[in-house]
Amino acid sequence: MQTTTYEAGQYDVIVIGAGHAGCEAGLAAARMGAKTLMLTLNLDMVAFMPCNPSLGGPAKGVVVREIDALGGEMAKNIDKTYIQMRMLNTGKGPAVQALRAQADKFQYQHEMKNTLENEPNLTLLQGMVDELIVEDGECKGVITHTGAVFRGKAIIITTGTFLRGEIILGELKYSSGPNNQKPSIKLSEHLESLGFEMERFKTGTPPRINGNTIDYSKTEIQPGDEEPRAFSYETTKYITDQLPCWLTYTNLRTHQLIDENLHRAPMFSGMVKGTGARYCPSIEDKVVRFNDKPRHQIFLEPEGRNTNEVYVQGLSTSLPEEIQHQIIATVPGLENARMMRPGYAIEYDAIVPTQLWPTLETKNIENLFTAGQINGTSGYEEAAAQGIMAGINAARKILGKEEVILSRSDGYIGVLIDDLVTKGTNEPYRLLTSRAEYRLLLRHDNADLRLTEIGHEIGLISDERYEKYVNKKAAIEAEIKRLRSTILKPNEKTQEMIIQAGGSPLKDGIKASDLLKRPEMSYEQIKELAPTEVELPKDVVEQVEIQIKYEGYIEKSLQQVEKLKKLEDKKIPENIDYDAINGIATEARQKLNKVRPLSIAQASRISGVNPADISILLVYIEHGKIARVSGE
């Protein structure tokens, strides 16, 4: 029986889904002045963390900061709700330092929901979208399964892993979203009927156990950092009572048990058709792939301050529940541990992301945007990054403003989106530092220097915060200038300091900045030799030190970026006919037609398009320009 539809409201932006992507998209659009509606299957699942209750780490941690610099919410939310915060790779230099936080999962959701509820311009509503209203190639609204018709100027789909979700647990397979929620079936079918190419992915999660049943004496404690840290540049209050995590390991008995039961593992029995992420292997995967490793790390991570649930990181699995019990019991410390939720795998539909423009608008249907795991990514940070960009671009489009596209040198967000829309992905895409060519420029410490200007220009960063940023930037530049123009003489004090640090004494005077470049010297020491008038704040000092010490390499990276910019500026005409270009290889032609790159730079990144093809393309475009200019 068909539900009778009814007109339920007019909005500027409609966001389908209130996960990490949806929340950023909704908040960004609302804060930019768009009347925004957020529809979610379940209001109790806003900003839910279905897997690891944590944010950050290499590359991902930088993304959280980038989202903050643009004016997004994730960083602020985790700063209010973490149970543990750690800076990783502190011994390896600033280029690879990354912040990581364990979240109080329930508090995280609660805070975010609160923020959504209190955001002016934002309406939060529980409902399931069954179909989109598409007329003349334009998306004009949505229809929910209760018959509500919502009209919108831009629609953003952020349905995560719900599209035709199926949970797989041992021999059991059933239709479901993550954590036994309702899946979204009709919308997925509708998207296919609209001509979208979908692919099927899988992801998994480990069991949760009761913390009271863990024998911690057999594990190694992993406390948070004592030094107060925060993701957001706006955070001034730090949570001091942190909860520790605990480290233990699998052993040969665990591995043997898994080997004996591989025939019951959906991954190996053929039950799972979707492609899993190489970088997020299940324990069965690990045991099979790395069968010479005698043990694998297991981190026991509390899920919150007011629950005993502990996330067993490293034990992601879809082996039958019966076997999961046995596996857990083989791990030191977990001999008597009781499971609270079993681990499982989930298969879901994702959209092939090369069907999107770099703004995350779909190529086929105007004003329809997609963001988050629906685009084939994995991870909350990756989702949130796409969410904020989709929200920004949807709002800008409606307001008649220019789109915002971050380049690969602006941030990991730029790398992420460019990889997705230019190269696509055939497994759940996860951000790694190795995906970025300009890693030295995309650091945890300089996210604000890279993106606050943009955040302010689009209206998501307040004037107050922007002013603080401008002052910080000026202070950094002033101090660097001062150190470059200060000469330190080889007097007793200076030589003494250098020798104490382990360096070789000076023969002549040296610029303070050059002395700082020596690996054994730090800013603190230079400051003693060349004191400042005013005490500079820590974050300014940090930047001065990094920018001076790595000056040479930063310069080289910037030169590479310059080269890239030249190619980025070589735009490809919108109506170019690739079939009319002689000399390009067939594969290149196919790929160019599919991706429809906006610039020569993007074209050169498409797999299957070679430099020779690019040269021909360059000549063709230049030819076209000359022909037009000479009036032919």
Binding site: P519, Y553, K556, P611, S615, V619, A627
Partner: protein, 91 residues
């Protein structure tokens, strides 16, 4: 000078044999080779200095790109300016 011991390890353990002597006569290519040599030198200096591998990689990438420009593996937008200035490409 390029085939020092350390590099032999990186590149096929030095087991590549050139069939015949390869001559590079194009002045642009020669200049690129010099730059690539300098870049490799920077890599070695970085290793000696104890610079983190992530940062040394910048010089290694530079070397790769410079060599790529010789064999046409690196996309060169300035190529267009060169071509249009040196050749008549017709209508």
């Amino acid at each position: 000078m390029i085939w020092s011991g350390r590099f032999q390890i990186c590149f096929f353990k030095g087991q590549i044999e050139a069939g015949d002597m390869t001559y590079v006569s194009n002045s642009r290519h020669i200049a690129l080779l010099h730059q690539a040599l300098q870049a490799i030198d920077d890599v070695l200096k970085g290793i000696d200095y104890g610079t983190p591998i992530d940062i040394i990689q910048i010089d290694l990438t530079r070397t790769w790109e410079l060599l790529g420009e010789i064999i046409g593996d690196t996309v060169q937008e300035s190529l267009i300016n060169q071509l249009f200035s040196q050749f008549c490409l017709g209508k």
